[in-house]
Amino acid sequence: MTVEVQGIVRRFGATAALEGVSLSVREGEFIALLGPSGSGKTTLLRILAGLEGTDAGVVRVGGRDLTGVPARERGIGMVFQNYALFRHMTVFDNIAFGLRVRAQKPHHSEIATRVRRLLELVQVPELETRYPEQCSGGQRQRVALARALAIEPRLLLLDEPFSALDALVRKDVRRWLRGLHDGLGITSVLVTHDQEEAMELADRIAVMERGRIVQFDTAETLLRAPATAFVAGFVGEAARLPCTVRGGVAHFDPLPMTPLRAALPDGPATAFVRPHDIVARSGDGAAKVRLVRQEDQAPNRLVVQAGDVVLDATSGPGEVFARGQACRLTLRGGHVFSAAGGSTRAQPLAAAMAS
């Protein structure tokens, strides 16, 4: 089903949790609502589920206006943050719940067949007679998913579904869940504050900040062309560096870094630079190596101190650093946001200047 959200406003007393949110999700798409806590992403999810009211705006699922439709009549499946399994029921009864509360409830043999099929689908058939407290976190999550799928939802909502899992299990479950989605094709909305999770699972990511969606794009676009300074800072890994633009060039003094070409009006600005765009070269620069990271994937990652800023950087080709060694920092690019508004993808001034 498609999801159409238009101009949703939600206030709690004087504070606005959502200030006019619009969003449209395509049939079968998997999207993520990504944002820090308090950005309104869970409120938006609860509004979709019908667990929260709105002060203005419209939600349409599959073209149908859901204003005033209570949660129980929406047919939208939801996996809750801590799963909210019914603790006094077995796993079987949990999954069967949505079928049993129907006005025309299926025959009990029909219910049993469907519950077992769901248990197979989420790969935990052995849990049937257990109680939630006898299941591990990962198992509970699968049961919660099976319970939500039992009502054959038109839309699946996932509220931080991985937050209660160990870091080790998390990655596996993530891949499995995406595979399951690809198989079932149910339109899905995931709420998360973990960008890695959003990028791995979602087709598109809506980045939320203080009750608004600031950018809704693919992960690749978010990284390549962040719409706002907030997105640039929140998505991906980037150092936030204050700078001043003069004549189309961003200067970082007093920080000891090479300037960047930035076609922006003169004035204060902020640059977001990724670690692989900050290159350290040996020499008597004003920066100092604080730590050499020993990582498999990034053997040339450093932590450097430049003035009073500590940032992640990359060592230049062939360079080997020791802790405490002085170095020079060259910027290879970044996103610069002018305080006056406007942003640009910044480039090094010239190859000659950088080397």
């Binding site: 101009g7 203005a56 206006d65 005033g68």
Partner: protein, 283 residues
């Protein structure tokens, strides 16, 4: 967002969990019908006498004596219960000994016994020929039943569990390492108790005191058997209300009832304020 999109759609005040209106309706009807409307009668009826009449009832020596007795005995009983309650709570939380759970269970007896039963039981116990009354009179010449001392004794009985059960959880949650720290800093056991343990328990003791006091002020069943019920001397305020009602002096009875309620709310409010001060002083 522009104003046009803001006004899109009508507000949709959804309650996540159904049943709010129904249950609130039941609750308000239940509360209103059983408690609030009847209490309104108590608040309104006294003024049939006019302000002068209300003051005249309150100035009556018998009324004053009864109010003084009810509030005085309740305060005295709650005060006497404080050390006893603290002792009992301490023993069941901190010490392990055979029969501890029996003692623990016995502490709820005053909650469990109907007040009339407690009343005749305490009277039988402290009467001149009772198990306690006889030896006390023989040895010290003390009379308990049918005196003010009897009233205080009965109120101590009903109030005791309030103090024990309020102090107990606080004592249980109190970290022992604070005591150990005090000991390593050279404090004697008495200093530790006085400066570390007791101050931490003070808010709970105060709460227990006000609960016991509030209960005791209005207590009727466990008191009237033991009290003797002589006007001016051993007549508690609730009994005076009953007497006035039997004489069809409804307004007068309502005046006494209202005075009791207002006085005890004022006192409880005062104790609550003291507690807030204590808490703020600590934070």
């Amino acid at each position: 967002m522009s104003a046009t999109t803001l006004s899109l759609g009508r507000p949709s005040p959804i309650a996540a969990i159904p049943g709010f209106r129904l249950t609130l309706g039941i609750t308000l009807a239940w509360l209103g019908g059983v408690v609030l409307i009847p209490l309104a009668a108590l608040a309104l009826r006294p003024w049939e006498l006019g302000l002068g009449g209300v003051l005249a009832v309150l100035a009556d020596a018998r009324v004053l004596a009864a109010l003084q007795l009810s509030f005085g005995a309740a305060a005295m009983a709650a005060l006497l219960d404080l050390p006893l309650g603290l002792l009992l709570a301490w023993v069941i939380v901190r010490l392990r000994f055979p029969g501890r759970s029996a003692l623990d269970a016995a502490l709820d007896l005053p909650f469990a016994l109907p007040t009339a039963v407690a009343g005749i039981a305490l009277t039988a116990l402290t009467a001149p020929n009772g198990w306690l009354g006889a030896p006390l009179e023989a040895m010290f010449g003390w009379k308990i039943a049918f005196t003010q001392a009897g009233i205080v004794f009965a109120l101590m009985f009903t109030g005791l569990p309030f103090i024990v059960r309020t102090v107990e959880p606080v004592l249980r949650d109190m970290a022992r390492d604070a005591e150990e720290a005090a000991a390593t800093l050279g404090a004697s056991r008495m200093q530790t108790l006085g400066r570390v343990v007791l101050p931490a328990l003070l808010p709970a003791l105060l709460t227990g005191f006000s609960l016991a006091f509030a209960r005791s002020v209005g207590e009727y069943g466990s008191v009237i058997f033991i009290a003797g019920n002589l006007p001016m001397l051993t007549e508690i305020a609730p009994l005076l209300i009953v007497v006035k009602l039997e004489q069809f002096d409804y307004a007068g009875a309502a005046v006494v009832g209202m005075a009791m309620l207002l006085l005890s709310f004022a006192l409880l409010f005062g104790i609550n304020q003291v507690q807030q001060l204590l808490r703020r002083g600590r934070a």
